[in-house]
């Protein structure tokens, strides 16, 4: 099975075409014309779920799992509680499967890549070789393969991941780092044991949708006692117009293991809004330590609020083991609409959860993000540092929930939410909930809202620093605590991203 699978992946489609053909009879909407278009037809139905599963040559249990999720989803409603306004999503007007562009269609060189995308790469200072790789240029290898510090990249290109580096070196240590579709074939016992145990299929509207139609994503397993010797990284890129993106990531850190995972995103210009509903599940067993960092830079829409990506993500970590530790760090600068609350369930005694976040919303962007820390074990600790920046006409909401259960004795939480406003047409909202159900536990909450001060700005200008650089400088200073939590190689990129995403916000 796994052999056939690999072959199918390399040649990209023989298997896909077979599976599509075999489904032809079942499918009512006329398939033959669609095959050439590399998409499954628009819309979601049981047939589409079957098709996705079939295209990935999945085993029966996986299909059943998906179908159950789909059945449940049809009975659910989209949440209306976030502070977000967006046009109603027509779920039947989305594509749920896009085949990766074949070698023939992929750009031959950077000259064939969208200039807007290259511009963003250049501003980010991404080396040429790496740009080729990110843009999916034929024959491009991940450039820093021999460079230090090492980053192993699993690129998710549209719905199916292509290209993994450093696999051998990781394999020697027993580390599994591959696409989740591959893991379903090669490590079904692990996938079956853990998938959906952190974010159940019934969790929320978007997570349930993802469970039914997830296309691909990353899978990581770090065996007992192993410290992963390199940063594991995924560059997500949404490439096909109108393609809903439904990545699913599962990371398991076994006892006494350690891993740092980076997720980075760049996206080309789009006119139509794109739906994105990812699920990320982290499992930390006894003494395990997971660092999950995201730099999210999806197309936020233009100055007038057209286009951009709708990002509804469910990210959750289960600190299952004693003294396990999870740290979420996120830099959110993209997307038109962001709905995202990376959370920790602190189940193991003395486990720790940390959440460091910078959310930047400019122009008409809307971000509703925050975290949930659920303290179940004794002596558990959580720390939340959230920096929200609003510019233009953007709205930025921090939503947090700290829940300390009666049995979680001697637990602690520290929450700090700072908001920075640039201009006077934007908004910042803080919605913190703290529920402490035992008297031996303590929580601390600090919140500030400030504006970029004209005098600070003038001070910078008077030293010869341009207006946009001055704003970037002040904002980077404001976010410093969070930027410092990122791995080195990401911190620089993130700083530049902060500057880019605020371009045009002053003057």
């Amino acid at each position: 099975m796994s052999n056939v699978y690999t072959e199918a992946k390399k040649g990209i489609d023989p298997g896909t075409i077979d599976s599509v053909n075999s489904l032809k009879e079942d499918y009512k909407y006329g398939f033959s014309t669609e095959i050439d278009m590399d998409y499954a037809p628009k819309g979601i139905s049981e047939e589409i779920v079957k098709l996705i599963s079939k295209k990935n040559l999945e085993p029966e249990w996986m299909l059943t799992w998906r179908l159950e999720a789909y059945q449940r989803w049809t009975k659910m409603f989209e949440p209306d509680w976030p502070m977000l306004k967006y046009e109603k999503i027509d779920y039947q007007d989305q594509y749920y499967y896009a085949k990766p562009k074949s070698l023939k269609e992929r750009p031959k060189s950077l000259a064939d890549v969208e200039p807007a995308l290259l511009e963003t790469y250049a501003k980010l200072g991404i080396p040429l070789k790496e740009q080729e790789f990110l843009a999916g240029v034929v024959g491009a290898e991940y450039a820093s393969a021999n460079a230090k510090p090492k980053v192993a990249v699993d690129a998710v290109f549209d719905s199916v991941s292509v290209g993994t580096t450093f696999k051998d070196e990781l394999a020697k240590l027993g580390i599994i780092f591959c696409s989740i579709s591959e893991a379903i074939h090669s490590h079904p016992e692990l996938v079956r044991k853990y998938i959906g145990t952190v974010v159940p299929r019934s969790d929320n509207y978007f997570a349930t949708l993802n469970s039914a139609v997830f296309s691909d994503g990353s899978f990581v397993y770090i065996p007992e006692g192993v410290k992963c010797p390199m940063e594991l990284s995924t560059y997500f890129r949404i490439n096909a117009e109108n393609t809903g993106q439904f990545e699913r990531t599962l990371i398991i850190a076994d006892k006494d293991s350690q891993v740092s995972y980076l997720e980075g995103c760049t996206a080309p210009m789009r006119d139509t809004n794109q739906l994105h509903a990812a699920v990320v599940e982290l499992v930390a067993l006894d003494n395990a330590d997971i660092k999950y960092s995201t730099v999210q830079n999806w197309y936020p829409g233009d100055k007038n609020g057209n286009g951009g990506i709708y990002n509804f993500v469910t990210k959750r970590a289960d600190c299952r083991g004693v003294r396990s530790k999870v740290m979420w760090t996120q830099i959110e600068t993209g997307s038109a609409v962001t709905w995202k609350y990376p959370s920790c369930i602190l189940r193991g005694d003395y486990s720790q959860g940390e959440f460091y976040s910078v959310a930047i919303a400019n122009n008409y962007q809307q971000a509703d993000t925050g975290t949930k820390m659920t303290h179940l074990g004794r002596g558990t600790r959580s720390r939340i540092v959230s920096k929200g920046i609003s510019a233009g006409k953007a709205q930025n909401t921090y939503r947090g929930l700290v829940n300390i259960h009666p049995k979680a004795v001697d637990s602690r939480n520290f929450t700090q939410c700072d908001s920075l406003l640039i201009g006077n047409k934007c908004g910042a909202h803080t919605v913190p909930y703290i529920e402490n159900k035992n008297s031996s536990s303590r929580t601390e909450h600090e919140a500030t809202t400030s504006k970029i001060d004209d005098d600070q700005l003038f001070y910078c200008l008077q030293r010869g620093i341009g207006e946009e650089d001055a704003v970037a400088l002040i904002v980077n200073g404001f976010c410093k605590e969070v930027l410092q939590a990122l791995p080195m190689e990401f911190a620089l990129e993130a700083q530049k991203l902060v500057a880019i995403s605020l371009e045009g916000s002053v003057g």
């Binding site: 003038f458 008077q462 030293r463 400088l473 980077n476 200073g477 410093k480 605590e481």
Partner: protein, 252 residues
């Protein structure tokens, strides 16, 4: 070097002009001092020269090296060589003192199409300049002006001035809040920068500073204009008899 003619300045929040027909000519290499009671418009003048937003020029002109600078943005005026040591230096949390200074210097270099300094080159330069002002590494690493004492802030301003090598240095009450030792350090820093192609405009409230930095001219500013100009003696006269005496004389 700097020629200010019939300058009138209005602050957005205030109805009448704060600067009302101000004239001043500073040649290269000269040191001019402006003294005047609180609220006479000294800081307003310095902000207007630097182009701060909200300071509306309702009349007159400011020329730097023969060209009007009124249409230039503050950062472009800085690049042309105007530096202001602030009366109240601003705190910017999270922004390292060192990286702020490097950003400033490199922004100016870039605008002038000169080669920017890499971190190592910059560090060498900064260490050399900082040692004269007793600014240590610890202070360079702290966030810009955050938690600095009054004296530290002022020394840090002079350090930035030394790094940026401006043509016109405006010092706005740099002496206020300094003890004797800090005053000496700051003065030494300023004197070390004196050169035939650099001019100074030193705004102060007290004569003290002028014992350390000897001016070529002293101007007395009251209600937005200069009422008297003289040599260093004039400062001593103010010290002795106060501004009231001069204002009374002016009226007669």
């Amino acid at each position: 070097m700097l020629v200010i003619k019939d300058l009138k300045v209005k602050i957005s929040e205030v109805d009448k002009d704060i600067i009302q027909g101000f004239n001043l000519k500073i040649n290269s290499g000269e040191v001019h001092a402006i003294m005047g009671p609180n609220g006479s418009g000294k800081s307003t003048l310095s902000h207007a020269i630097c182009g701060k937003e909200g300071y509306e020029i309702t009349g007159g002109n400011i020329n730097l090296e023969g060209r009007s600078i009124l249409d230039l943005e503050p950062q472009d005026r800085a690049t042309k060589g105007i530096f202001l040591a602030f009366q109240y230096p601003l705190e910017i949390p999270g922004v390292g003192n060192l990286s702020f200074m490097r950003t400033a210097l490199n922004s100016q270099k870039k605008a002038r199409q000169e080669k920017e300094l890499n971190p190592a080159e910059f560090l060498k330069l900064v260490k050399e300049k900082a040692s004269h002002l007793s600014v240590d590494m610890e202070m360079l690493k702290r966030p810009l002006n955050v938690g600095f004492s009054g004296g530290e802030k002022k020394r840090n301003e002079i350090l930035q001035m030394a790094l940026l090598e401006p043509k016109l240095c405006i010092l706005d009450e740099t002496d206020s809040g300094l003890d004797v030792d800090a005053m000496r350090q700051v003065s030494q820093g300023v004197n070390a920068l004196r050169s035939p192609n650099r001019s100074f405009l030193i705004i102060t409230h007290y004569q003290r500073l002028l014992n350390h930095i000897k001016p070529d001219y002293v101007h007395i500013m009251v209600s937005g204009r200069i009422i008297k100009t003289g040599g260093p003696d004039l400062a001593l006269q103010v010290e002795e008899k106060g501004y009231g005496h001069l204002i009374a004389n002016q009226k007669n």
